[in-house]
Symmetry: C2
Subunit: 191 residues, 2 copies
């Protein structure tokens, strides 16, 4: 009974359907508003299967609410283009083909779900801080990373979660120029 990656097809299609439905609903309505029955209905399966395959609603959420920012090595980026680079990367994480599904899920749920909030803080200390440590001096890393996060999370919050019309309507170019300049200053610590 090799549990290896052989036998690609069985009804893990069910598992996949559950995951897909859960991602969509958690991202749209957050953890509390999304019910196991909603997920099952969207996946066109029985609610009991959600529990059978994932143990509980919490475990399913934990499974789905993981993501990797895939931040580039800022030590290898042209020093004067770090801000632009980060903003471009950030937008591509949220929009287009390779968008990371876990991000809207976390942002929507972190306000009322302590598990999600902790995961977001971990992403910060495990991914954002280390990346920023390679972008400027060793000093004030936390301060610089905090400022960067406040701007980028705020942008995501307004644009993708709250959907504030003027922020939704901002073009990629405007964001890259205006916000990029801010991130450049925060990230490098230059005044």
């Amino acid at each position: 009974m090799p549990r290896e990656s052989k036998k690609p097809t069985k009804s893990d299609r069910t598992r996949a359907a559950i995951v897909t439905a859960a991602q969509k609903l958690f991202a749209e309505q957050g953890y509390e508003r999304t019910t196991v029955r909603d997920i099952a209905a969207l996946a066109e399966i029985d609610p009991a299967l959600v529990i059978r395959y994932f143990g509980s609603k919490d475990e399913l959420f934990a499974r789905v609410a993981v993501f990797d920012l895939k931040l580039p090595d800022l030590g290898k980026v042209d020093r004067s283009k770090i801000g632009e680079n980060l903003v471009r990367h950030f937008l591509s994480m949220w929009e287009g083909e390779n968008a990371i599904g876990g991000m809207p899920i976390m942002l929507r749920s972190a306000t009322s779900n302590e598990v999600a909030a902790n995961k977001l803080r971990e992403v910060f200390s495990g991914q954002v801080m280390p990346a920023l440590a390679r972008a400027g001096g060793r000093e004030n890393v936390a301060e610089r990373a905090g400022l960067v996060s406040s701007q980028l999370l705020g942008l995501a919050f307004c644009r993708y979660v709250l959907k504030l019309p003027p922020v939704v309507n901002l073009s990629r170019e405007v964001i890259i120029r205006a916000v990029g300049k801010t991130i450049q200053r925060y990230a490098t610590g230059e005044d």
Copy 2:
């Protein structure tokens, strides 16, 4: 039966206790997580009274989730100090004595409660946009207001809701200097 402001004391102390408890709990856990029974327990009254006095949980939330940013007239502020001024004002709205209780309530609930999200958007178009219209040219008001909001809401989200340690630890002075410079650029549309 004059319904005027006479007779200051009866048991509107109950009403006040309910409002106070509701503000605290909505601000800490958001709309969905907060139950009528929780509010009643904190106010040390019967759950039925919450409904009696406020009609429903939704009406109580609507009552409590209102706020006025009290933005200053930016036309009367030294043009080069608009950013600093706005950030100072923003911090005072969140911290200290006269902090507005409705703000954390809204921010926590807007991610999963459409009523709260709409109210936030109304605050934006009814208070932030008009104020910014007096800070720069008539053009790009929406763009500038959107950028300002993305930074200030992001700051509030990280510092007061998510409580990201590096952002919580930022001193007022650092925030006023670093974020103030950003807001200055966004608000005036310079560069």
